[in-house]
Subunit: 452 residues, 2 copies
């Protein structure tokens, strides 16, 4: 077919092909290569030039019968250094030596498309700086929420707005486990075992269940949404290993469901020395389990799906929903970026650069306004409620609801607080556990809702 021709526009001479090298031919890479081949004509029409796959770096060359043998190499460092390659697609993951591969490509002004959230969350600034210095594109839609268009909406569609909050279910494994616990009443170990059996959890599930994956994504979303540098280490992180069947049940009793959320907020920091109505802003970025109301749009996102909820000053409340992982969905996001980078190459331009002009500081977790739900097993005698309430009052935490349920041997007390600094709440819970009247703290979890 003739490339570069768009119906209704004047005929142009076909642009030269855009030459693509791919690092990795695993779950995502093989789908990228398949789509590049199967949809070659359509992609050429959209880019205005052919996308030509010229090399694929893999570790085990014999394991990829679908990739033309002539394209396969085990020399990834050599591939990224080839000066006839215009765009490098990186889907191997990992920090080292992947970072050096991408830096090599960027230094020689090749465009880079990556799905590597961990690398971006840890070394984003260094990669951005290399891209800027060389005038190269660095795109990474696939790094957050798989196929769901999110980076582009945050960075471009909402570029004329002020984002106040980004809140998402961005890890399918943990969402699958929590959904299973909710649906079946199973405990965490059983639900994890089932997820592993079905292939939703890896043999070593730590990256997912301990929240590392979600924290990397939170760092990326916060960086872009708030035009500040937020790294993985800036994100407060709690996983789901501590979530119990009792927590799930307690959530249901207050009309909530438990989700692991990545939460990025633009917050006002009080106590500005200048006084008056003045305030400064900061970014809070955190990953932890939360009880959210069952009628919240995020509450109905079940199984391995992802969804991200965005609040912006003018746009209001938006939600983006779709498959958060998987070879084909992730490859779709990679190819969307590849088309954009290739178009930029042909036009001689660049997409949006890193934008960290706001440089907002990170709010420490202890200062984040939280609401807690706490269930306690207590003595079934008069005066216990007063003792417990007193502990909260001492810490300056006001209570939203208190529910007392008598039982045979003892009683349970369910407390939901108003918003208070997280450190004050955590401190109070620790003190409650030491009270004689409190037998056991059966469930402690943050609750989402309007904070004071």
């Amino acid at each position: 077919m003739t490339t570069g021709v768009t119906t209704g526009s004047p005929q142009r001479s076909p642009a030269p092909a855009v030459r693509v090298g791919v690092l990795g031919a695993g779950v995502v890479g093989s789908q990228v290569i398949r789509l590049l081949t199967e949809q070659a004509d359509e992609l050429a029409a959209r880019v205005g030039a052919k996308l030509e796959l010229v090399g694929v770096a893999v570790r085990h060359p014999t394991r990829h019968p679908d990739v033309p043998a002539g394209l396969i190499t085990t020399d990834a460092a050599g591939l990224v250094a080839r000066d006839d390659i215009d765009v490098v697609v990186e889907v191997i993951g990992g920090i080292d030596p992947t970072k050096s591969f991408l830096l090599t490509a960027l230094h020689r002004s090749a465009g880079v498309v990556t799905a590597n959230k961990a690398l971006l969350a840890e070394h984003g600034p260094e990669l951005y700086a290399a891209a800027d210095a060389a005038g190269a594109d660095l795109y990474f839609e696939a790094a957050v929420a798989g196929a769901i268009p999110l980076i582009r909406p945050l960075r471009e569609s909402l570029a004329g707005d002020r984002i106040s909050r980004i809140m998402g279910i961005v890890n399918g494994t943990t969402n699958f486990i929590l959904s299973a616990m909710t649906d079946t009443g199973a405990g965490y170990p059983e639900a994890l075992a089932e997820a592993t059996r079905l292939g939703y959890a890896e043999a070593d599930p730590s990256a997912d269940v301990d929240g590392f994956d979600a924290a990397a994504k939170a760092a990326i979303m916060a960086s872009i949404g708030f035009h500040s540098r937020v790294g993985a280490a800036d994100v407060h992180r709690e996983g789901i290993a501590g979530v119990t069947a009792a927590d799930i049940d307690a959530a249901r009793r207050i009309g909530c469901t438990v989700k692991l959320l990545a939460i990025c907020e633009r917050v006002r920091v009080a106590g500005n020395p200048a006084g008056g109505d003045n305030y400064t802003e900061a970014v809070s970025a955190r990953v932890h389990p939360v009880m959210i109301p069952q009628n919240h749009p995020l509450a109905v996102v079940d199984g391995a799906y992802n969804a991200v909820y965005v609040e912006a000053e003018a746009a209001g409340r938006l939600m983006f929903y779709g498959p958060g992982a998987g070879g084909a969905p992730t490859a779709s996001a990679v190819l969307g970026d590849l088309v954009a980078v290739a178009r930029n190459k042909i036009a001689g331009g660049r997409g949006p650069r890193e934008s960290a002009y706001a440089a907002l500081p990170i709010q420490p977790m202890g200062e984040v306004l939280s609401r807690y739900h706490i269930s306690l097993d207590v003595d079934d005698r008069a005066g216990v409620l007063a003792v417990v309430a007193g502990a909260f009052a001492e810490a300056g935490v006001s209570l939203s609801t208190v529910r007392q349920e008598g039982r045979d041997a003892d009683a349970s007390l369910v407390v939901v607080t108003h918003g208070a600094p997280d450190a004050a709440l955590a401190g109070t819970v620790a003190r409650l556990a030491e009270l004689d009247a409190v037998h056991r703290v059966t469930s402690v979890m943050r609750v989402m809702g309007e904070l004071r």
Copy 2:
């Protein structure tokens, strides 16, 4: 502040300001002007240059106390012709003379940002051609689904994928009315009156309730999603004025809810003369009320909210949700486009052009595979079911479920068909109405579900 500086990148000399003219200072325009002013510093940091508002064309200059008097003009034609204006933002709507204003701006290579769905759906090709000839940008995120990022995801994020279906609630007025009918059991006239009273419906509601607004948006979505030219006239259009309380009730009985959907599909057209497994593709674009399962993500989109559901080969099922109208949300989308066009101006590049290379034909509505739900009041006697079933069989339509409910005087029969060409179904319903045994056709509506 110094413009053009991005943290972490080498210092660049500030780019000259990008000069913006706005047509209209109504509900959307006034919000665009407010955001341009209030967020001037942030926008400058994001664009890399100041966005300078240099003129606002209005009809009644005394009615806009918030707009600096020095910027106001009643001469829109003069404003768009000013060669010191880099980008024209159009938020006045209408076809004439708006089209000529935009053509004037494009002819002199100014970028254009518009929220005008009717103009794009009717004269998109002419505007695209003018933009292409001049190398100018034409952006219109705000034309479909207000603040919800949709055009950019369809055109850019999914540029490496094959979209198979786009299905959306894209008109807030009709969704509000249908939600009210569902929640309160009210009939259409009462629900419309309430919507008018609350300001959700205009004094002349035809553009909304007769589906014109949704059809224009369907035309735009289908054009972009399928890289083909689809105009408003190509979209089959049925509004909600015929939806009754009986329809809503009938939907509930089969676990569905009634929504007015804009549906754009890539369909395989059978009967290719070449025979064999070969087929050709076409586009179906239509707007009509549909019964959709209550557990479908679109079913829970209530009130004035919009949502668009997209299915793509690799990405899978995505959904985009948010406020579909209103001054501030629409202004957010306009400003996102304005930032993009301004960035392109500074970089000397252009965003994606019109892409109609696929040039798929339009599938006539009569050939669209539909499923129908039909309720009939019939004689309560043996043999009626056979007569009714015979009418469907004659037209080659197979039935999915038949439910008979006896009543005192007569009986009702509820039929849900399998997928069949729409014309065959419509013809059968017409014939049913003429049968002696059928007293009345009480409800006819298409049902969404897997088509054969």
